[in-house]
Symmetry: C2
Subunit: 367 residues, 2 copies
């Protein structure tokens, strides 16, 4: 991974439909069934639409390679292997997380529609894209959505290697009369995707996010790829880093020991070519999805009145330096999505070049 030139970083707009079709075709070339490829394309393109470029089509080549080398099963059939009134357990059959996770999340939402609450625990899956894709799907039907996953280890405990836990993201989305309140975040100070972006763009991080292989604080994202590690949310111990480690541990225990997936330092890598873990303690990556109907808690009238007021109060406060009011969780994603609706999906020129190289390699029409 190298720093890119200005021209490689310049934005190119692609229509949402064209990009979805393209991703779907690339995945179908790797034997992913049509319906699954359309679903996976929707997850990836939604990340780009929300401005989370690190988790979008920039990773398509890696997914494609892992499918080609059978590291990921293109024709996986995720299935329910355990079920009770609260929760179902899904074996992902080592499929694309972008296919397994939508299946699992749908079951949690269906359970919530009929009984007020639903949970799906998943093992034997792979990287599922942005957690916020899943949590927001039910908000139009008055469902609060929860999604989390464990990820390969990049995070150390006390500002020195070894890496013990993943950047383990969590998303929670609350319905509103407008766009959902959307929390979608890694539990490390910065996400691995932010590191990838930063390397491409040649930017650095403030102290408190990365340590190098010797445990020395660093601002250089390249140090992560050379044996360093990410700090948990909160940074070092005195500023609350133990809390970020705790959050990551909560997600790892739900997604690993409780699901049957791998955990901690043994979670398999999600990028093609990365070294496999030294032990297999479970199968693949694990996820947990939850859905809760607002009506389980209170009446729709009461809730929507309150959450509307909550948002209004936050926005009316002079919380930011320019006096423009507090940022509501999800505002950046919603603003990016609005721009996309007008202008198409904005991709870095280097990403488009890479996708077009990939297309030519496998005989598809470039973007």
């Amino acid at each position: 991974m190298n720093k890119l030139s200005d021209s490689e970083l310049s934005p190119i707009s692609v229509s949402s439909k064209r990009l979805r079709d393209f991703v779907s075709e690339v995945l179908q070339y790797s034997k992913v069934p049509t319906d699954d490829s359309i679903q996976a394309a929707d997850v990836l393109c939604t990340a780009d639409e929300r401005g989370i470029r690190s988790h979008g089509v920039a990773r398509l080549r890696s997914y494609s390679q892992m499918l080609q080398t059978s590291r990921i099963n293109p024709t996986a059939k995720p299935k329910v292997v355990r079920q009770n009134s609260t929760l179902q357990v899904v074996d992902g059959d080592n499929g694309l997380g972008l296919v397994v996770a939508p299946f699992a999340n749908r079951l949690a939402m269906e359970q919530a529609e009929s009984r007020g609450a639903g949970l799906t625990s998943v093992f034997n899956s792979n990287h599922f894209g942005i957690a916020g894709y899943y949590s927001t799907l039910g908000t139009k039907n008055n469902l609060i959505g929860i999604a989390m996953t464990n990820t390969p280890p990049f995070v150390s405990q006390e500002a020195r290697p070894p890496r013990l836990l993943g950047t383990n993201p969590i998303s929670v989305a609350f319905p509103t009369k407008g766009r959902p309140v959307l929390i979608d975040m890694a539990t490390s100070a910065i996400s691995f995707g932010a590191v990838e972006n930063s390397i491409r763009e040649g930017t650095v991080f403030p102290l408190g996010c990365i340590v190098d292989a010797n445990g020395v604080s660093s601002t250089d994202p390249n140090d992560l790829l050379q044996g360093g590690s990410l700090l948990p949310l909160g940074g070092v111990l005195s500023t609350g880093g133990h809390k970020g480690f705790c959050l990551s541990a909560i997600i790892d225990i739900f997604c690993g020991p409780l699901s049957g997936a791998a955990w901690g330092p043994f979670v398999p890598p999600f990028l093609n070519g990365d070294i496999a873990p030294s032990r297999q303690v479970g199968m693949g990556i694990g996820h947990l999805f939850g859905a809760l109907s607002v009506t389980t808690f209170t009446t729709l009238d009461s809730y929507y009145k309150q959450i509307d007021d909550w948002i209004h109060v936050m926005r009316s406060s002079e919380a930011t330096a320019d006096g423009s009011g507090a940022i509501i969780p999800g505002d950046p994603e919603h603003a990016a999505a609005e721009r996309c609706e007008k202008q198409g999906i904005s991709l870095q020129a280097s990403v488009v070049a890479d996708l077009n190289d990939l297309a030519r390699e496998i005989g598809l029409t470039p973007l």
Copy 2:
């Protein structure tokens, strides 16, 4: 609140039974029924036993005053006002959180025992002590416990006032064959209790935890009491502070707009004498309790084997500077509790003096 002298800070040991009896007597003097007073004493003394002095008997005077002035209802009868197969809603009748919360948490655990999962949403309550008291109660019966509460506003969004959210703590406890894995944390960089302790002890914080009334970074905990605010977990935006704000928002929305309690800047104060909020948007403080049986996810055999291995792997890694292995969430609390079992509960001399003053004021036998 002033810095204390060395002699005022020196530790005094009190037996666990004596301290519980004392707290119970003080509360009974304020008309709290005997059983409720015993329950409340157990919550407060457990905080001191776990080394979380900020949330223990040091706050007894404040609770006592709020009961005396009818700010808190001593004879509250919390009751279920809404119930379905997933969740019950409890009206706390403006009682002590130390009484309302155990009642509500018990209902969630009973639901989990019979159906695999349970949730209780609470409004019209008050400060409930340490969240970790509730989450750990069911771990011996293979229950994962979850507890959260909103709290009065001390946290700003972008390193400048106004205060928009509380330090909103969350606790999750996972059963193991030994002591539970216990996460119990405020979602701000530091808790309000840590600020109180720091003022008493005359210590300062690193940058990234507090800003003064002008939004300038500060290391002085007194600046919080003079119009400043706490930073969310993660500190400023570039080190992930927006994530801590998001975590606090999740808890506030569950405990406020979804429960019927107050929320955001309008959560009532938990210390006697603090100014009441400018608007009433709900009733009292809100909590949410969850309980999930391990057997909802997997077999006990499979889970205990995995979580044992998880702990072993973490402890075997050279994660800390002295090479002694990773700290498992809950280790500090468990170590403090072990010390207490041998030596009694260790209180600061100033806290004992304050409790004894209180005892004399109301005609009880001092400690």
